[in-house]
Amino acid sequence: MKPRLTLLLLLIVVTPLAIVGWLGAKIVGDEQDVLQHRVSGLMTGQLRAVDAAISTALDAYQQRVLEEMRPFTVERDALRKRSRESALSMQFYVLEGAGKLLYPPVDSPGALTPSEREALARTAQIWDGGELLASVGESEATAETGWKAWYWGNGLQMMFWTREGQRIHVAEINRTRLLADLIAALPETDEVAPQLSGGRIQLMDATGTVLYQWGSVKNEEALKTAARIALRAPLSAWSLEYATAEAPGIGSVVAGGFLLTLLPALLLLVGLVLGMAAYFYREQSREMREAAQRVSFVNQVSHELKTPLTNIRMYAEILEREAGGEDERMSRHLNVIVSESQRLSRMIANVLTFSRGQRNALNLRYQSVVPDDVLRTVLEQFRPALSARGIDVELDLRIGEECSLDPDALGQIVGNLVSNVEKYAAEGKLLRMESGLDSLPSGLGRIFVVVEDRGPGVPAREQARIFEPFYRVNSLLTEGVSGTGIGLSISRELARLHGGDVVLEAKESGGSRFLVTLACRPVAAPTEGRPA
């Protein structure tokens, strides 16, 4: 019963806890996902803000370039001076509507300055392929200005164009200066928004090379990209990344907070479950304790009762013999005294056996007996009680020869079974007992005894448990019937000790059928002592 109870308690405690834990984990996990989503949304939002800042800085740059380009002119010296002195642009160009360069003077190569020649070599693909015109053409007809990005040398190159009548004025941007100005417009590390500290924002070029970054991190190697966006045109080849050392780190801090709010409820639930378990355990163990106390009390008392009971039985039997059949009334009364004292002896024997069994000190004393005689003696003892309850006895006993076994054990086992029939199955009005002897190949014999009744039987779900000590089938049947709850347990224990068993056999019609088997030794070598 102990392991079963523990298992049950464990189940009671663990199952709800597991459910709560699983639910909690699921909720936290979901929350984590939501948070992660929210955090990455936050990061993306942050990146968009940066993108907007870059866009603003680019607009400012464009404005300053436009100022350098004004007033619009096609005059060569003026354009040369501008190209020479501009801090923002490398070179200015002027295109006529059809796409032909008016400046630098491509028609007269001799007139080109070395820097103009270099500039034309740098931008050849733009002019030869008509790329800029195409770019101008693509933009809306009303657009007065626009950007053209292309690749040359060490990366993204930019051109800014503006329309003036039929002409297009172009500034080839100083790429590094533009980048330096964009960087100047972006935050420094000590300016980073505090809610995103521990993260780093990186501006990257098309190859993923970091152009600029801010945000202090402890371990640069552990940085992982948490969010990424492409810059808006014309810098769409570049991207912004939000990197953190530990992506879920941000989430878990917040999720931890969430867990904190969930914790009291969780603790309450756990407490409740544990309390319930403790209550059940206490109840259960209280019953166990009480039963054990009962047994221990009975045990002590039984020892004291044994001697006077023996005397009572002995003198009652003497009196019965002496009275002869002279007085029928007296004889009947004496009979009751004898059978009741026999019943008391059995109960005492059971209790003592049980308490001995608890201490693993059950002894068997083998004797050479005829088992059927033992069975008849038991039935004889019960006859008054059985007949009082109107129970007929049917016998089919077939072990006439002697066997070596412990007659007390056999008597006690069968006595308990018969006592149960008398107590619980009286309404069946029948007790059937059968005995026989099997020969085993090992040379050992085995006797079997069947005790059958037509009572209500044992409910299927209780069948396994009726052999547990102190277990009593809790039903109307057992109500009002006294019993220690150790009879069947002791019977099975004794039988098993005797190399056999007591089992409840399946029965088609009503009632129950117990089968007792015991090993017996050949009579030729009667021995005494403990079997292994």
Partner: protein, 455 residues
């Protein structure tokens, strides 16, 4: 120079002085800048196409007013991991000592960079020196080298107070290779050009033996700044002092030089510095002119044949600049001409020694670059020979022109020659070489002698 052209030049200077006198009657000595335009060979051999050099020299004059122009300086410090220890400590000390030389109305900003950039002290006047000093003392080294972004942020701080009447300069310190953001010498040079055109000079200090001298020198050259190779951290102070000394002695800035060649004279190339040649015209600019220092533009010209005795003007020069003492724009004009002669010895004896020294110096610098390129390609023997020839060339010129400065430059070439074979020695020599080249090309001061002599 003939008497006539001399007179014309003097007259022009006088007119300029008069103009500035009229503009600011209280300014006594308006000419804070002296302009000299000279041909290397005032006498040219007649009867053939001849080449010569024209030097446009500008000298910052000592101001008797004793009031210097306010400065706007950004100190951009490398605080990457490699700087930790003595380097960082010395850099901080040098920066703090340099700030001590500034007045309260000067403007300073401090930018530090590693993997990311911090603007430690946004551009501010020096009223609260203690806070700035504390900020500098708190710098700790770690991380990578986002040099480009450091320069970008430094430039932004300078722009907050960018003023033609202030000396706008950035002092960039790095001890390693830029590895975050653009990091090629070409890209940094492109940025330097842009900053230079804006009036910002970037002076670079390479500390130790692991920085990229190509990047640092090209950035400096493109913005008309200086470059120092500081091998030992304790010499940082001298480099800072030299740069601050220059900045504090600036007399003019935003200098533009326009040189026109008359008919019969064709500008071929400009030695040493970026300039643009547009037909007969040469345009160049210098960001700053310092007191007692001469900076120049050197143009090689081809002169059409002429008959002996004929005088031919070879250059008309207009120089514009902002005079800081008076906060006015000034202009100077000058010209140079040659006279044809039949006597080769006269040509030889009349050559302008100063211009010839400058020419020798620039030619040697160019040849050193070629030799360095050979060494970079792994052609060690050819590089050794090129450096040796250069050394000999400079030594000969030093004797011929009685120019001790050429002897010093010969030494640098000699060191390069001696070190080409050894990787570690070459690394040092290459840095010395590049540093020397910047100073030759920009005519900027070499750093003050270190307190302790190396070796």
């Amino acid at each position: 120079m003939t008497n006539q052209t001399m007179k014309t030049a003097l007259a022009r200077i006088a007119v300029t002085m008069l103009v500035s006198l009229l503009a600011l009657p209280l300014t006594m000595s308006g000419a804070t800048v002296r302009l000299n335009v000279d041909a290397a060979n005032p006498m040219l051999l007649s009867g053939g196409v001849r080449k010569t050099y024209v030097r446009v020299a500008l000298t910052g004059m000592r101001s008797d007013r004793g009031v210097r122009a306010p400065v706007n300086v950004a100190i951009v410090l490398d605080r990457s991991g490699s700087m930790s220890g003595a380097k960082m400590a010395e850099a901080k000390r040098a920066a703090i000592l340099a700030l001590d030389r500034l007045r309260d109305d000067d403007i300073v900003s401090i930018v530090t960079y590693e993997s990311t950039v911090d603007v430690l002290v946004p551009a501010t006047k020096l009223y609260d020196r203690r806070a700035i000093r504390r900020a500098i003392e708190g710098i700790e080294a770690s991380g990578s080298t986002a040099l480009f972004a450091g320069v970008g942020k430094g430039a932004r701080e300078l722009r907050k107070f960018l003023d033609r009447n202030r000396v706008n300069s950035m002092l960039l310190l790095s001890d390693g290779l830029a590895n975050v953001g653009p990091s090629s010498p070409g890209e940094l040079a492109q940025l330097g050009t842009s900053l230079g055109r804006e009036g910002i000079t970037v002076t670079t200090i390479g500390l130790g033996l692991k920085y990229n001298e190509d990047l640092m020198t090209r950035l400096a050259l493109a913005s008309d700044g200086n470059h120092f190779f500081v091998e030992e951290a304790e010499d940082l102070e001298a480099a800072f002092a030299t740069e601050f000394g220059d900045a504090l002695s600036t007399v003019a800035q935003g200098v533009t030089i326009h040189l026109d060649c008359p008919e019969g004279v064709r500008p071929i190339r400009v030695l040493g510095r970026d300039a643009s040649i547009e037909g007969q015209r040469v345009h160049a600019s210098l960001n700053q002119l310092y007191q007692d220092q001469t900076r120049y533009l050197l143009v090689e010209v081809e002169v059409a044949p002429g008959a002996a005795g004929r005088v031919r003007p070879v250059a008309n020069v207009t120089v514009g600049f902002r005079e800081l003492a008076t906060k006015t724009d000034q202009q100077l004009r000058g010209d140079a001409s040659i006279t044809y002669t039949n006597s080769a010895s006269t040509v030889e004896s009349r050559k302008n020694r100063e211009v010839m020294v400058a020419v020798a110096s620039q030619i040697a610098a160019e040849r050193n670059k070629v030799a360095t390129a050979l060494r970079d390609e792994g052609k060690i023997e050819q590089a050794r020979e090129a450096f040796r020839q250069n050394k000999v060339y400079l030594q000969d010129k030093a004797v011929e022109l009685a120019a001790p400065s050429l002897k010093d430059e010969a030494k640098v070439s000699g060191e390069a020659e001696a070190s080409v074979a050894d990787e570690a020695q070459w690394n040092r020599a290459r840095k010395q070489q590049m540093e020397s080249n910047v100073q030759v090309q920009t005519q900027r001061a070499p750093k003050a002698a270190p307190k302790k002599k190396q070796e």
